[in-house]
């Protein structure tokens, strides 16, 4: 072998590294959120629909819930809206919205026009709560189990495929039947990241 082949050999080696990096890139994006397996960050936010009744992290306890971070300024949120409405119709898990860095009037208009998939919506005007949740950009969706532990996080638009593939199995695995808000589920956080 002559020395002129060495650069090519080095390049092949580099390719292997890049290929492995690329294979792992999706995990990096759908980041192993440090929150997974941990209790949800404490928060209290103004309620979009009823300013006298703030939305707090306590509201996530006692039942499965889907926390969806969105904003009317977000193009992808428009794209995922139909999927959220559909999930709501199945009524398996209540959707709690966190309206991120948005104006209340815009948000109310948006929900009036496109339909409201949310059980409750907290308005995070300053984006402080989103920081605690480690939100990079909207939309992001979190699956919370009845003990208030973050089980799964999805970055980007929610689709019915993602819901069927990633979220639903985690919910069904522990309880095996639909859960409505207010029905205390006895199963603890068995569907953590290790599951």
């Amino acid at each position: 072998m002559n020395r002129f082949v060495l650069p090519l050999a080095a390049f092949v080696l580099l390719l292997v590294v890049l290929l492995v990096g690329l294979k792992r890139a999706p995990d990096k994006n759908n980041l192993p959120s440090p929150l997974i397996g941990k209790p949800v960050p404490q928060f209290t936010l103004p309620n979009l629909f009823d300013t006298t009744q703030p939305l707090s992290s306590e509201a996530l306890k006692g039942h499965w819930s889907l926390v969806n971070v969105w904003g009317t300024w977000c193009v992808e949120c428009r794209a995922e809206h139909a999927a959220l409405l559909q999930i709501k119709q199945e009524a398996r898990v209540p959707i709690i919205g966190i309206d991120w860095k948005d104006q209340d009037e815009d948000a109310l208009t948006w929900l009036a026009q496109l339909g409201n998939p949310y059980e409750r919506v907290g308005t995070d005007h300053e984006g402080r709560v989103a920081i605690d949740w480690g939100v990079y950009g909207a939309p992001e969706s979190f699956l919370i189990n009845p003990s208030g532990t973050v089980v799964y996080k999805h970055i980007g638009a929610m689709t019915s495929q993602v819901w069927q593939r990633e979220f639903l199995p985690r919910v069904s695995a522990t309880i095996g039947k639909p859960v409505m808000p207010g029905v205390p589920a006895s199963a603890p956080a068995a569907a953590g990241p290790g599951a």
Partner: protein, 659 residues
């Protein structure tokens, strides 16, 4: 409808790029004279259609056409017109289009100058450029089409990232791309030389001006980016060793090595295969940078919306382009024997050291950039590599390299004697030592041991770069553009070294909370916070503080740092206020409102920071001077008139090109 025309124009450009590639490479191979004539026309046509596509996208931005997904994602109707135009390269899809536009601009430049080259050689080089263009057009159309519609159309757009709403953003990406896409011409010429199996070194002569121009653009682009980060990000730093910064810095380092190695190949016929390898590597690193930024394999502040499916596509293209070129190299480079020798302390040796050390420096950056990826591959867990690795490791090859610059400039070709340059060089070294000690101990005063060393090296480079021009002026000789260019570039390097040395050693930073009327000392200066007021801009609202600076009771400057909240994305943006001067910058940035009228403030004093960017700019000016001067003297016109040094006499200590 107009938008679909843009999409269509891009498809036509792809067809023409394919024609350019096919006829450019097949024509000379099959000896079809008439096929050669097609190549420049295809290149021109491609440029026209790419420009048309860009024009269409600009039109969509200017008219707020939010039915175009890309426009809806990166623009907004309240965005000022100027930023609506620059939003074109505000995200991945549009910046790919810019990449392609810049590539076709360089292709046009080659077409305009191809009469100086043998027709078949020029056709091959254009053919290689055609392949590159094909790859990127295909990639853009298949995975990153900026013309995709959004149905139903968004009522308004998502706005341009506030960090990008800055005049520097109008020029930084285009100039940076001019730089690293510019290395595609050197790459294409190297490939053409290898395909032809040329045994002479004329290709090196042809390649020199292209390389220097690309290198100069890249220097400007990097400096602009660094300056922009400095004032816009409000952190006061100018270089963060971020993967994306490194992606532009590595081709620049290799490009610097290439310029010097080209000089040896052109003048003396040595280092041929090494020079070819550098030409291939410089552009390969640009391509690799593109991959790293856009595939999401590395995490960076600059990252574009990452999409692994794009990553695999670019990876395939990398295999095609880089793998192809390196395969060609493995096959053809053994033909390129260099049969001349040189003494140990000749200019060739110094340029060899320059090359080795710059390559090591590039390797250090490369290693640090890819370390997280490699650690991940080997299952060593997550690793993050930052300035604590880069700063010292980079100095190891760079400090010796810089110390040799003064000697290398004055060493003779072939012979290992400094001759008459020895006395002025030693004198310059002595003067530099005195200046450096005076400055580092007297004016700035700091315990770092490396400060006087860095300062001495900086001064020595500047002074020794002046020896030749001063000598020529004294003897009333003309100053050839190549000598002037080299001197200017090295003076720029010296200024840059001085800047870095003192900024790194003598910066003072304070983070402190101040109430209106309170003040804090920063070095010899006193910063007083005078309160502030709420402000409203075209698409943001915010708070503007007032900071008065005095020195020994004398007013120096008043700064107005801002904190802005952009309405559409709700992003909070800190805009630092800077009082610049020749010898120092004073900076104030607003932190948080800590209540009771008090704000946390970041206050900084940075000596000689302007030298860093001015030095880079002067280096680029030096490069351009050399190229423009060479053109005017018509040397570029025909390499045929050049003395061929392939059989130069001298020692026979060195055989073969690659060190």
């Amino acid at each position: 409808m107009v938008v679909e025309l843009g999409h269509y124009a891009l498809i036509l450009a792809l067809m023409l790029a394919a024609a350019q590639a096919f006829f450019g490479l097949a024509g000379p191979a099959l000896k079809r004279e008439r096929w050669l004539a097609v190549v420049p026309s295809a290149a021109c046509g491609q440029f026209v259609f790419v420009a048309l596509a860009v024009g269409v996208l600009v039109h969509a931005f200017v008219n707020n056409d939010f039915s175009v997904r890309y426009v809806a994602e990166t623009s907004n109707s309240v965005l000022p017109l100027f930023y609506r135009v620059t939003a074109l390269w505000g995200a991945h899809e549009g910046s790919m289009l810019l990449w392609i536009l810049v590539l076709s601009l360089w292709t046009m430049a080659l077409v305009a100058n191809m009469r100086h080259l043998p027709p078949s050689f020029a056709a091959r080089a254009l053919g290689v450029l055609g392949i590159i263009s094909c790859c990127f057009l295909l990639f853009t159309l298949a995975t990153s089409n900026p013309f995709v519609r959004l149905i139903p159309a968004a009522p308004d757009g998502n706005d341009l990232n506030p960090v990008l709403q800055d005049p520097a953003f109008a020029v930084h990406p285009p100039i940076l791309y001019m730089g690293y896409v510019g290395f595609s011409v050197s790459f294409a010429l190297a490939c053409a030389a290898m395909i032809e199996g040329r045994r002479d070194q004329l290709w090196a002569h042809w390649m020199r001006p292209w390389t220097v121009m690309a290198w100069a653009f890249l220097a400007c682009g990097i400096a602009l980016g660094s300056w922009w980060a400095y004032y816009e990000l409000g952190w006061g730093g100018f270089w963060f060793w971020d993967p994306v910064e490194n992606a532009s810095f590595m081709p620049w380092l290799v490009g610097t090595a290439l310029i010097h190695s080209l000089a040896v190949t052109d003048k003396r016929g040595l280092f041929k295969s090494w020079t070819l390898l550098l030409a291939v590597t410089a552009f390969s690193l640009s391509l690799l940078g593109t991959f790293l930024v856009r595939s999401g394999v590395l995490v960076s502040v600059h990252s574009f919306a990452a999409d692994p499916s794009r990553g695999i596509f670019i990876l395939v293209l990398l295999v095609l382009m880089i793998g192809g070129a390196l395969g060609l190299y493995a096959w053809r480079a053994p033909l390129m024997k260099s049969a001349a020798g040189f003494d140990f302390l000749s200019r060739e040796s110094f340029l060899l050291f320059n090359n080795i050390l710059l390559t090591i420096a590039a390797a250090v950056v490369f290693g640090g950039t890819l370390a997280p990826l490699i650690a991940d591959t080997l299952g060593l867990g997550t690793l993050s590599v930052g300035p604590p690795y880069f700063n010292p490791s980079f100095l190891v090859p760079i400090l010796p390299m810089l110390s040799l610059v003064a000697l290398g400039m004055h060493a003779r070709w072939r012979r290992g004697r400094l001759g008459e340059a020895r006395r002025p060089l030693l004198l310059a070294l002595g003067v530099s030592l005195v200046l450096a000690l005076a400055l580092s101990l007297g004016v700035y005063g700091h315990p770092f041991k490396l400060t006087p060393v860095g300062a001495t090296v900086g001064f020595w480079i500047i002074l020794s770069a002046l020896i030749d021009p001063v000598d020529r002026l004294r003897r009333r000789l003309s100053l050839p553009a190549s000598v002037a260019g080299m001197s200017i570039a090295h003076i720029g390097l010296g200024i840059f070294v001085l800047g870095i040395t003192f900024v790194q050693s003598n910066t003072i930073e304070r983070d402190i909370a101040l109430k209106p009327g309170e003040s804090a000392p920063v070095g010899a200066y006193r910063f007083r916070y005078d309160g502030g007021q709420d402000i409203v801009g075209p698409n943001y609202e915010g708070f503007r503080g007032k900071v008065s600076i005095t020195r020994n009771g004398e007013p120096v400057s008043v700064l107005y740092p801002e904190k802005r909240r952009y309405w559409v994305q709700g992003t909070v943006q800190t805009t630092a206020a800077i009082a610049p001067a020749f010898n120092r910058d004073l900076l104030a940035a607003l932190g948080e409102d800590v209540g009771a009228g008090a704000w946390s403030l970041r206050l900084q004093y940075r000596p000689l920071i302007r030298f860093v960017w001015v030095g880079a700019l002067i280096m680029a000016i030096g490069g351009v001077t050399a190229v423009v001067g060479r053109r005017q003297r018509g040397l570029v016109a025909s390499g045929v008139a050049l003395p061929l040094a392939t059989t130069a006499p001298g020692g026979i200590r060195e055989q073969g090109g690659a060190p």
